[in-house]
Amino acid sequence: MNLDVTYYGKSGFSEGPSGNALAFQPNLSRAKVFFDQQLKHPLRFREAISALHEVVVGNLKFQKKDKTAYEAWKKQHDAEEAEVRRAVHDQAKQTELARLAKEPIPPNLEADFRRLHDVYWRERRRWASELSQNDPELFRHLVPCDPVVTVAPDVVFFECFAKDESSYGCLYVDRDAFVGQGAAALGTTNVDYSLALYEHFQNLRTYRPTRLSVDPTGFEVKVSGHSTLREEKIDLPPSWLRGFSQIQGAMGLPARTVELSPDVVYSILATLKRKREKTGPRSLKFQLSPGKAPVVVMEPWGTALQSRGAAYVGEKSEDIKVWGRRRLLVLSRLLPLAEKVVVQLLGSGLPSIWTVHLGEMRFVLALSGWTENDWTGGAALELLAGDLRPEPRAMDSLAKHLATVHTAKLGALSPIADAPREVLLGSLYALAKQGQVIYDHATSSYRWRQVMPLALSESLLGEEPPEIRAGRELARSGTVKVVREELLSGARRLVVAKADATELEGILDADGVLTKAKCHCAHFKKFGLRKGPCRHLLALRLAGRRDAPVDSVVNRLKEWLH
């Protein structure tokens, strides 16, 4: 998807005789949004926005060793060999081209296009990663990292999505955090963002009164061809959009709420900073017992951290594991200011939402189930929302109402949708997935926020891979039967099962990841695990989730609905 952005100059920190201003340049291609008020607690804002910056630039994906020099030598060596083969190849190519010219358009053209498109994006991301280290300015033009700012009647909030497509950060700043009256136009827009802006954030001090502004100047002087007017077209990769939409949807789904004291989060971060795990499991295990404060166990070391916050309110005891915990290090700057940390857990291996309360500000960090924005997370989320039914009519009326009132609680939205509760929630879930609505856990309300100028439809996100679709259907239909389960060394499990009359077996490691597998289907015979698991293995993993059986999640959803 191509996103058009137009900025008037660059965002930055300006020092003037009447005080300083941290001015963000809004996207002039969108509706006019602006804001200008003085910060009451600049230091608190500085720490919070710096944490948001960490989310923007965060990339914890495995970084491969730089083998550029070796590759160059190898390329030269290969070129010499290729020279010998080229003559034969050219001839074969001409023959093939002549043959192809006579043939009709191949039926698998679409599939081939998608495959090559994936190759393109993989290479593009690799290149972007290299550029981020060697040429940050050029990198900025390639990677979508501009945050989105929303000016609402009660809050101003900044949102961003990490470049590794696995973390979402949002900083809510209540309007009470500003001094005096200021002009504002409500709405959502992108703001220009650069890596240098982080240095500007560090200039915030109490002895320098600072205004936070989403600068409206550009709207007044908008003239085509103006020297400071920058027009860019950002090509957003489908995986980025899909990841973003999944995380938005996840935030509105029912979840277990756990309150952690700051010392627990500190201990988690201090451990992660000082220790590097060599083997799995690499999870954070939340041990939840009704009426008791939660315990967080850091695996594989088994370090148990007892929270001193509020007791867990739930019906039964359970353990929930979340992975990709190193992404939590972005919270380190917020700990000294944190009043409490509230975690929303959707289930094992599913997204978790961490909210740090900082007085009149709140920092929300939503993490996908794994550091990789992987397929199972998306599929499992869909399963979780399986009983919710979106309806176009309800979606339309809810969208219109929220666009007018900007924020509303579920109770107030119920008469607007005029539909059963699962339709209401399903419609809100669908709107969230389309990037139109955001759920604010702290105020338990839905907010109108159009992340893009248009709704993120399935056509924009690209079609879901057929194996995932089919795997989800299999898991939902309940045709997966576990025949045998054996415990192996190193906390691994061998699972032998039958899915839709197809025999399969797989070895799951301590993190529940398929390390080895075998299936009798055509997809597996052709590709093995190279292109991800086949529909049967995927169904096995989704249905046989050890720590959070799908049934229990669906039941919990039903409980929550009634």
Binding site: L43, R46, E47, S50, E83, R86, A87, D90, L97, A101, E199, Q202, N203, R205, T206, Y207, S261, P262, D263, V264, Y266, S267, L269, A270, T271, K273, R274, T303, L305, Q306, R308, L329, S332, L335, P336, L337
Partner: protein, 578 residues
């Protein structure tokens, strides 16, 4: 919609034309469109031509427009046609190797091959042959033969013009040359495919042409396009334009071409022509023209302009604002040349201290050095000047920043009357660690700064860890300066620091314990800080917290209840024994 938008003069008309696949409709449009005198119609016509002529089913429209423009002797429209047709016969440069059985060797080389997707000719119609006439089947777009014909015919218009009226030809061809864009000439083969462009620029570089002065015969003109002669490369091409008369004495117009051309190839050609044939003109180039070159958006033109700075006339009268604008250029080839000219022609007295300091912030080290050098020559009179000097702490060039801060520190130490703690605070707030270190050293060296409340308060707000650590180590002596909330924030930041500061944590724990004893009202807010440390996973931190709590409880027994309430997991040995 086509007619509607055409009549209304709507901008979407061109897109609609390009989307149209109705040859009859398009054919009927040609005469009307060309004859339309409205500016909209003319702009739309050029936009359509700039899009290219390979759109399927547009042959009739293109032919109609071409013939109309040609018969009307419309130089401007023909210039657009020339650029458009130069892109319609793409060839591809491929490498080949073959075995020569006579020499028993593999011979490698490169050749230009035709684009197979373009049919060479329209297919002959079967069964409908009239007497003495061959009929051809329909083709969606032009065949390769027609494309070549269009190329030749477009160039023929300019060629004839050159023979008839060299002055008009010069004007018309310069107009056409300025229209070529870099994306038209991405690869070397694109240049060879541009029949009109190659003739206009390198007509004399062909062996079959008698050209004065003599140039290397790099090109071979053949019916199937231009190729490079054996033993030559494109690098050997030198300007040899068609109709040299049209270029003679046209230095101003050629320089305009350097400035206006959108293609690097054309700009490079025009520069070479000027350097070869108009050396005297270039030497006397006025500063106004050089400034135009330097302000160009193209690096190559800027470099060309910078090379003229050595001989330029009228440079002495250039206002200082203009010089500063030139120094702000980001072209690494140009900046040293501009700096050299600035040193030669600008006296430092013409710049204010503030302007010199602005120069020190330049990303180009040579400009920053120049700015600092000049700033040092200025008299620093008062506190305002010193505060302005603090700008050097933000310099991007490390060497300049280091030298500048060193100089500022000396001035702050010497000018006792004028220097203020605010000056040091500006250094403390710098984003560069080396500057902050200098500021902290300054605080140690001079008690005026070392004892300044303003600076100690500023240290508490710094986001930089090394500054905060410095504060923490001294905090026990200066507690009175701070509000309880500030102290709590500083201590919380030190105790909950994830990335560093284990030594500072020990000092802070002791400070908190002492504060709790001396200010029991603050215990409710401060004891949780020690509780965080006590619950840490790190044993040394737990030990530190335990020692601090034990000390506080021992020194102030009245705290025991509060400690018990806030840290329920902690029980004192004495209580257990009793």
């Amino acid at each position: 919609m086509l007619d509607e938008w055409y009549e209304a003069g709507d901008e979407r008309f061109v897109d609609e034309v390009l989307a149209s696949r109705s040859p009859a409709k398009l054919k009927s449009l040609a005469a009307k469109w060309y004859a339309d005198a409205r500016p909209f119609a003319r702009t739309a016509l050029f936009a359509y031509l700039d899009h290219g002529l390979a759109t399927p089913d547009h042959r009739a429209l293109v032919k109609g427009l071409f013939k109309a423009a040609e018969s009307a002797k419309d130089d401007e429209a023909m210039a657009h046609f020339l650029v458009a047709v130069d892109r319609v016969v793409p060839r591809q440069l491929v490498s080949f190797s073959r075995y020569d059985w006579q020499t028993r060797q593999v011979i490698s080389g490169q050749a230009l091959v035709e684009d197979k997707s373009i049919p060479s000719r329209a297919p002959k119609k079967k069964g409908s042959r009239k007497e003495g006439r061959v009929e051809y089947g329909p083709l969606a777009s032009f065949s390769r033969a027609t494309r070549r014909y269009l190329q030749r015919r477009a160039w023929r218009y300019f060629r004839f013009l050159g023979h008839r009226d060299p002055a008009r030809y010069g004007k018309a061809i310069r107009q056409a040359l300025a229209l070529y864009r870099d994306d038209h000439l991405v690869k070397p083969e694109n240049l060879l495919d541009a029949w009109g462009l190659m003739h206009a620029l390198y007509w004399g570089a062909s062996a079959d042409v008698q050209y004065e002065p003599k140039v290397a015969p790099v090109l071979k003109r053949q019916p199937r396009g231009i190729t490079v002669a054996d033993g030559f490369t494109l690098k050997a091409l030198v300007p040899a334009p068609f109709c040299p008369k049209a270029w003679k004495g046209q230095e101003e117009a050629t320089l305009d071409l350097v400035l206006d051309a959108k293609s690097r190839t054309v700009r490079a050609w025009a520069r070479q022509l000027l350097e070869r044939d108009a050396g005297a003109y270039l030497e006397k180039l006025p500063m106004a023209r050089v400034r135009e070159l330097l302000k160009s958006a193209h690096d190559d033109v800027q470099t060309f302009g910078a090379a003229r700075l050595k001989t330029v006339t009228g440079v002495e009268s250039l206002p200082i604002a203009e010089w500063l604008e030139l120094l702000a250029l980001e072209n690494p080839e140009v900046v040293p040349l501009v700096c050299e000219a600035v040193v030669k022609h600008v006296h430092p007295d013409r710049l204010t201290l503030s302007q010199c300091l602005e120069l020190t912030l330049s990303k180009a080290a040579s400009v920053a050095e120049l700015g600092l050098g000049w700033a040092k020559q200025k008299a620093v009179r008062d506190a305002k000047d010193l505060l302005a000097l603090a700008k050097v702490a933000k310099a991007s060039a490390p060497a300049v920043r280091q030298a500048g801060v060193e100089w500022l520190c000396q001035l702050l130490l010497i000018n006792e009357k004028e220097s203020r703690p605010e000056h040091v605070r500006a250094l403390l707030d710098s984003p560069h660690a080396d500057v902050r270190v200098k500021a902290l050293e300054l605080m140690k060296k001079d008690p005026r700064f070392g004892e300044s409340e303003l600076l100690w308060l500023a240290l508490a707000e710094s986001p930089w860890p090394e500054v905060r650590e410095q504060l923490v180590l001294e905090l026990s002596k200066r507690e009175k300066l701070y509000a309880p909330e500030t102290l709590e924030a500083v201590w919380a930041a030190a105790l909950l620091s994830v990335h560093r500061g284990s030594r500072a944590k020990r000092a802070v724990a002791a400070q908190v314990a002492h504060r709790v004893v001396t200010h029991s009202k603050e215990a409710e807010r401060l004891l949780p800080l020690l509780a965080h440390l006590l619950r840490s996973v790190r044993p040394p931190e737990r030990r530190t917290a335990l020692a601090a709590l034990a000390r506080a409880s021992f020194e102030a027994p009245q705290l025991a209840e509060q400690v018990k309430r806030l840290i329920p997991e902690l029980s004192f040995v004495s209580e257990v024994v009793s």
